[in-house]
Symmetry: C2
Subunit: 356 residues, 2 copies
């Protein structure tokens, strides 16, 4: 497996990204091409490899050769900044790291792309290079959420802010294929995010999507509410990218706030301070269970190729895990699964012309 | 202050509601009219008052007379069930507890209505009886969320699933008036829920609303993301009722799931079990800080009268607090404040015809 990694994305700088690349080489044995400013990358590599020497120092390593043999670099002169308009940036910055990464994928020099940079630019670069799977009208971003049982996939979490019913229908197909592949769920239970459990409840988009999903071949369990999200009783939830992105960020914000509030409470007296020390391991475990770094990022689904968008604040572990998931999608021909599901699902072609 | 309380709503039954009414009498000295099945109410009153004797047994009581002097009842023969279609139910069930409660308000026999029953039916009953404030096109439900600082008001959290920009604009006016009154915030900071902080980001609804709010006289701070929600740096967030309801239920679901996960972790060994015992007070405080019961429920804003919708699983404390907030809205003529803000805000009339 060979992954193109955007070395210029992420809030923590190139060194953190490079560290993730080294971990991917040592632990997974993959090849990584770092794309970005050559001088910055070489400097980061030098620092990281000086600290490490060889893979023996990396926990759970499987590769024992020379790390540098599996890391290559491509110099690019431009970067798409976080605030930039994605479409403009991709049009103008022909030598940006993210666009060059996707060109590598399009030319089959690599198997997948991973980036922690501007999400919109990543989508735009994918659209411009590898393009959409035939029959998919709107590729999207699938978010992976922790639950009390198996992880939950919510799609779309930000690529498509204004959607029609057939888009949500296709999200259900794509997210089901992803859930099946990554979490080994034979028939993922698909729920439609709404504000009431009865099929008649919701906004216009939800009502139309409900009709489409009811007549599909998917394991559709009906409307689900935000309250059900984290119980683990649904494997895939579909919604438009506006609602999905709000959910993603709200969850993050609430988890952070709860931890901050608890910390304030712990500090109030000695007894609870001591209690906190005794429960630290439990907190560390909770953090691990709910850590976005566990899966590294959010996969782009619906494109002719594998790509993962990482959280801006990704650490090296998140980058490594994103590389792992991206490779898994490529190795298992995720896109073929989506194409097959699309072809099999006759409802789609029959119904899309009626409702939309 | 005199409150009409729907005795038939809520998942915990009439006894819990009646207990809330008794607390309101003892602690706040208010008059409460319980509306519902007479036999059930009398039975519940008998049980609760037998346990209590007089207000001396109620913590922080201010009333010392006979509780029964301040509790009256009105018998109704019908109930709107949770699953029922609100519009149909209110049309057909002329003698339902929720409709009779609002008729009492409309005829000025009481100052406010509190119900833990079917939210849609509560809205429909309000619309049919007291009606909308002049100039308000869509009344809505304001949700109160805990943050690290002062509570945050999000509107709408479920009354209006498909909205236009002028509706969100009016939510901002109403929620600002509420935030100012209840939390004593001179110029509430108003944020527009979106998926990016720049004004250009969001769906079509958000972009249109952004323009309206920019030219308003409100303390508009621009787009906010779900991540900011719980930090306490914004006082009012506006969004459509679909997104707001998803946020409300997602927050509930996530908080429950985090607590459940922590509990699983605590059970894993003796050390963390002991640690948990030492930090129990901190948890109890966190629970109190994030408890929906603190404000009792969600106020309906935009109607010609005060009403609070309580959570289905409200306990007696939540009912008592809802009565307290409902009375506060009535006593301070909340609706006049909204009318004044509407009249003052010239932007509204000038702009609404252009964007919508």
């Amino acid at each position: 497996m060979h992954i193109a990694l955007d070395a210029m994305g992420g809030d923590r700088g190139t060194e953190e990204i490079v560290s993730g690349a080294i971990q991917a080489v040592c632990r997974l044995g993959y090849y990584v091409t770092l794309i970005g400013d050559q001088a910055q990358i070489e400097k980061a590599l030098k620092v990281q490899l000086a600290a490490l020497k060889n893979c023996d120092a990396v926990e759970e390593h499987t590769f024992t050769g020379d790390v540098r043999d599996r890391i290559s670099t491509i110099h690019t002169s431009q970067v798409v900044e976080m605030g930039e308009s994605p479409m403009d940036a991709i049009r103008k910055k022909k030598d940006s790291s993210i666009l060059v990464a996707f060109k590598q994928l399009n030319e089959k020099h690599v198997d997948a792309v991973v980036s922690a940079g501007n999400s919109g630019a990543t989508l735009a670069a994918a659209l411009k290079t590898i393009g959409r799977i035939k029959g998919i009208s709107r590729p999207g971003i699938a978010g992976i959420f922790p639950t009390l049982k198996k992880p939950l996939v919510i799609m779309d979490v930000g690529a498509n802010v204004d959607c029609r019913a057939n888009h949500l229908y296709q999200f259900a197909i794509m997210a089901s294929a992803f859930s099946k592949l990554l979490f080994d769920i034979e028939k993922p239970r698909v729920g439609l995010l709404s504000i009431g459990e009865e099929g008649g409840k919701g906004n216009a988009l939800v009502k139309n999507t409900h009709e489409l999903l009811l007549s599909s071949g998917m394991n559709y369990i009906g409307n689900v509410e935000g309250r059900d999200t984290f119980q683990g009783d649904v494997d895939v939830i579909v919604c438009d990218g506006f609602v999905g992105n709000v959910c993603l960020k709200l969850s993050e914000g609430l988890a952070d706030a709860m931890v901050a509030m608890l910390r304030e409470e712990f500090r109030k007296n000695l007894k609870s301070k001591v209690g906190y020390l005794l429960t630290r391991k439990a907190y560390a475990n909770l953090k691990k269970r709910t850590d976005y770094a566990e899966y590294g990022g959010a996969p782009l689904l619906g494109f002719n190729g594998s790509a993962i968008i990482c959280h801006g604040r990704s650490n090296s572990r998140a980058i490594m895990n994103a590389i792992k998931v991206a490779a898994e999608l490529a190795r298992n021909n995720m896109n073929d699964h989506i194409s097959n599901l699309l072809a099999k699902d006759q409802t789609l072609s029959a119904n899309l012309s009626n409702i939309a």
